[in-house]
Symmetry: C2
Subunit: 333 residues, 2 copies
């Protein structure tokens, strides 16, 4: 294992101390726990608050999306581990302005359990909550069982839509409606080339041999559905887009936004080679790409690989997509 | 070699096609060559233009810094190879508004030769040019021979200062003065954990064994000055900051900006662990960190490693530091 760390058990708290220092203009802690982080200006008056949370090791997910036009707060877990319900409750109390709180996170057992518990505790304290769960990873479950799928990089779009809607002054009910609508219209497919190593484990979580790739792998190394010879960037891109297009029933004339996300070790240069092919495929099918995001949006430590997310747009989602946001890692003017 | 590419010889042009598509709101080509890229709104009236250039494989360097508050244009080379003088000349013609053009790039033989030639050709066409060369890599040459050092991530600060000064309406002479002043006050130290592989070569450019690190390595794999056992993040950070502080003659009461840069494969989480230690060291020495940047600013394909750059501030540099910029990869509001 080659990592810039000190004691493995301190990775998350030390990382957060550095992060809170570097982004003190945007972030603050909700209480005396560095793992409970909220917007500097929380609670934001007269706005539905959006909270996410999950394990560490996926930066910019989850806490990197705190800021204007994005999340109000995040409960941070240890590497690949859920935050506790009491953390989530503490963040909830700090961000609620009286207009309710949306819990928006990926579909993993521990997260679902803890957000559910936190929601019940919050209701007992008079804070209205609702939950939308990201389930964009096409490869994780077959069609017909979409609600059982894992949440991966497509969460970015759910944050974006929920937050933009909330900033328009909408009610919790309206924010939930738009976020669920976005969730039904976003899909992600990923491919991995090499594994990552958890600091406390000290060795790779899985293995992909030289010359091989794995399609459909999850961001914690959950097995994919195809392991085989590494193909060209164009062929891999075609496969991923094909799966997404079919699952999302994309048709000629549709409008989409595309997120090409690096999983950690993959150079930006390669993501743009993939971007070029996505452009060519959709141009050929007369599907309009309204906006592209390229970079690291949801990583898995130093895993080499990438994912493509596609959000199918309608007029409302398109309007919300273009609203600005200002977070520590990504900004949109 | 595991990369998302097609034919190795097409990596740069395909990458640029993707990049120009994704960032068509900010970038355009200077001519019919996708390797010659300028600001969408070039030439910007009544402003000294800033041009950079160099080999590919370092994104966001170089072309990722084109945009308002940063560069006007970039001539892009093949992987780790200089752009040609005719490319640079073409970019020069497209960005010049009559107020002159600053060539601002890292100290590498091919780049120096080609920018010099382009400058001579530009002068013959009546365009005034000047050059400032980044030489921030402390490890590459000893003290006393600072002007022979390589340019690495510290270039970010030179771009920032030159461009901010130019946007204030300053003359070419004034922009050069500030940029040279910034150059004398910026230092970088890097450490690598694993190599990168050039697509056309197909195997790693060097080797660092398991459990080892190399301090002082350049961003093309130029050898460092210390190869030894991988130390803790805190110890490595202390070493890098010690070297920089001594070379820069940092004293109690000084003000600095710090850039903690990932070389490609290193997770953001680890960069923030390093950030925490930098904060503690400077706090202890009563050196004020005015602003921190953390992320990928100058990479070396999928090399694992990081660098720390420190810019010593005075009132003018501090004012320029805080001016906003808007580029494809990084934005400052």
């Amino acid at each position: 294992m080659k990592k810039f760390i000190n004691a493995p058990e301190n990775v998350v708290t030390e990382m957060l101390e550095g992060l809170l220092f570097a982004h003190s203009d945007l972030l603050k802690t909700a209480d005396d726990n560095v793992k409970n982080i909220v917007r500097k200006d929380a609670p934001v008056k007269d706005k539905v608050a959006i909270i996410s949370g999950g394990g560490s090791g996926h930066l910019p997910l989850f806490l990197g999306y705190i800021g204007e036009g994005m999340l109000d707060g995040v409960a941070v877990g240890e590497i690949f581990a859920s935050p506790s319900s009491s953390q989530i409750l503490s963040v909830t109390k700090q961000v609620d302005s009286g207009k309710g709180v949306l819990y928006l996170y990926g579909n993993y057992g521990g997260d679902v359990m803890n957000f559910d518990m936190a929601g019940e505790m919050a209701e007992m304290e008079g804070i209205q909550t609702a939950a939308v769960i990201g389930t964009d990873d096409v490869a994780s479950m077959p069609k017909g069982e979409e609600d059982q799928r894992r949440g991966v990089a497509g969460l970015f779009y759910l944050y974006k839509m929920a937050a933009a809607k909330a900033e328009e002054g909408s009610s919790l009910e309206e924010v939930v409606r738009v976020t669920e609508h976005a969730s039904r219209n976003v899909r992600t497919m990923g491919v991995a080339l090499s594994p990552c190593t958890l600091p406390e484990v000290g060795k790779p979580t899985f293995n992909i041999e030289e010359g091989q790739m794995e399609i459909g792998m999850g961001i914690h190394g959950e097995p994919g559905y195809y392991k085989g010879k590494l193909q060209s960037a164009d062929d891999i891109t075609s496969t991923l887009i094909e799966e997404i297009s079919e699952d999302l029933s994309l048709n000629q004339g549709d409008e989409v936004s595309v997120l090409i996300n690096g999983l950690g070790a993959t150079p930006l240069e390669e993501l743009y080679i993939v971007c070029r092919k996505v452009k060519d495929i959709f141009l050929d099918r007369e599907i309009n790409i309204e906006k592209v995001y390229v970079g690291e949006y949801a990583t898995s430590l130093e895993m080499a690989g990438l994912s493509i997310s596609v959000l199918k747009l309608d007029d409302e989602l398109k309007r919300l997509l273009h609203r600005p946001f200002n977070t520590p890692f990504h900004k949109q003017l």
